[in-house]
Symmetry: C2
Subunit: 170 residues, 2 copies
Amino acid sequence: MANTDGPTRERISITAYELLKEKGVSGLSMRALADRLHIKAPSLYKHVADKDEIIADLQARGLREFGEAIKKAGKSRKAKALAYRKWALGNPHLYEITVSIPLLRDRIPPGLEDGVTKMIIEITGKDHAHARAVWALMHGLVDLEIAGRFPKDADLDLTWKRAIAMIGKA
Amino acid sequence: MANTDGPTRERISITAYELLKEKGVSGLSMRALADRLHIKAPSLYKHVADKDEIIADLQARGLREFGEAIKKAGKSRKAKALAYRKWALGNPHLYEITVSIPLLRDRIPPGLEDGVTKMIIEITGKDHAHARAVWALMHGLVDLEIAGRFPKDADLDLTWKRAIAMIGKA
DNA sequence: ATTTCAGGCTAACACTGTTAGCAAGGGAGA
DNA sequence: TCTCCCTTGCTAACAGTGTTAGCCTGAAAT
C-alpha cells in the first residue's frame, strides 16, 4: 500500500457528497472523486462496485436529511411546505440526485423511502392519493424553479402561497 | 460528395425525433444519429453547430406538439389536465427533453415558451402565480410518474382526481 | 475549363465508466 | 522470524461520449 491511511468507505461517501455539493451531478465523476481522495479512479472499485453505489449512497443521504428537515419544521402544513422548498433550494444538487434521477431502490436501506412517503401522508392528513398530489405539487414547484423554467420576474413566494392555499382547501 | 441526397437539416431534425422516441434521451447520441442518416458523426457538424442545437430543436417540437394537444382537448380544466397527463405519458422522452432538461431559451423560436405559458394561464383563469402552481402540480405528477417514484400499486387515476379537485377549489 | 465550395471522410483529443493484470506492503499463521 | 495471502494501490486499456482538424471529391458556377 502506498498510502498508510487509504480512503475508507465512509470517507468516499463524504467526499462524494462534498463533490456533489460543489460541482453538481455532472461534476460527480469517478476520476474527480478519486482525485479528491488522492487515488486513481480504478482504485475506487476496490471499495465500491460501481458508480451507482455512490449515487445510491447520496440518494439515501438525501432522503435522510430531507426527512429530518421536514420533521424539524413547524407542525402546520404551511410550515412543512415552506420547509420542503427551503431544503430543496438549499440543497439543489442533493435534491436533484435524490428525486430527479431514478431512485436505486434495491441499493438504499429498506424503509427509507417509505418513511418519507408516510411522513408526507401524515402531514396532509388525508388519503394516499391526496398526499401524492400534494407531494407532486411541491416537487413540481421545486423542480421547475431549480430548472429555471419560471421567468426571472415570476413571484415565486406568491406562487407558493397559492399552492399552499390549494393544499389547505381540497 | 459520396451520397447524392445528403441529409437536409429537416431530415436531421426528423431522424433525431425518431431516435429520441425509440431510444430515449440517453440513446440520442451524435454517432447513433449519424448512423441513421448513413453518414459519420463528424459530418453532422456540417449541418449543425453542436448537439445542443438538436436538443433545442426537439424542445421546440415538444413545446409545439404539447401546445396543440392541450388546445385540442376539451375546454374544462379537468379535460385539459387529463390531456396534459395523456400527452406527457404518451411522449415521455419528448416530455423529458422538453421539460426535465434545462430549456435552451436562446435557441428555440422566440415566443414558443411564452405561448404555452399563456395558454396555461388562460386555462386556469386566474393570476400568474396560480397558473404556475397548477402547472407545477401537473408537472410534478407527470415527472414523478415517469420517474417511477410512485409505488406500483398507487392509484394514480385517483391521485389525478384529487389534484384536479385541488385546482378547482383554490 | 477552371475554380469554388458543400459535404462527405478519417484521425484524433479529452472526457466518461469500467476491467484486467501487476506490485507492494501489512497482518496472520507456522 | 519467515512465509504466504490479501488488501489496496497502480498503469494500460476498451468502449463509449461530444467535438475539432484536415483532407478529398464531385457538383455547380463563372
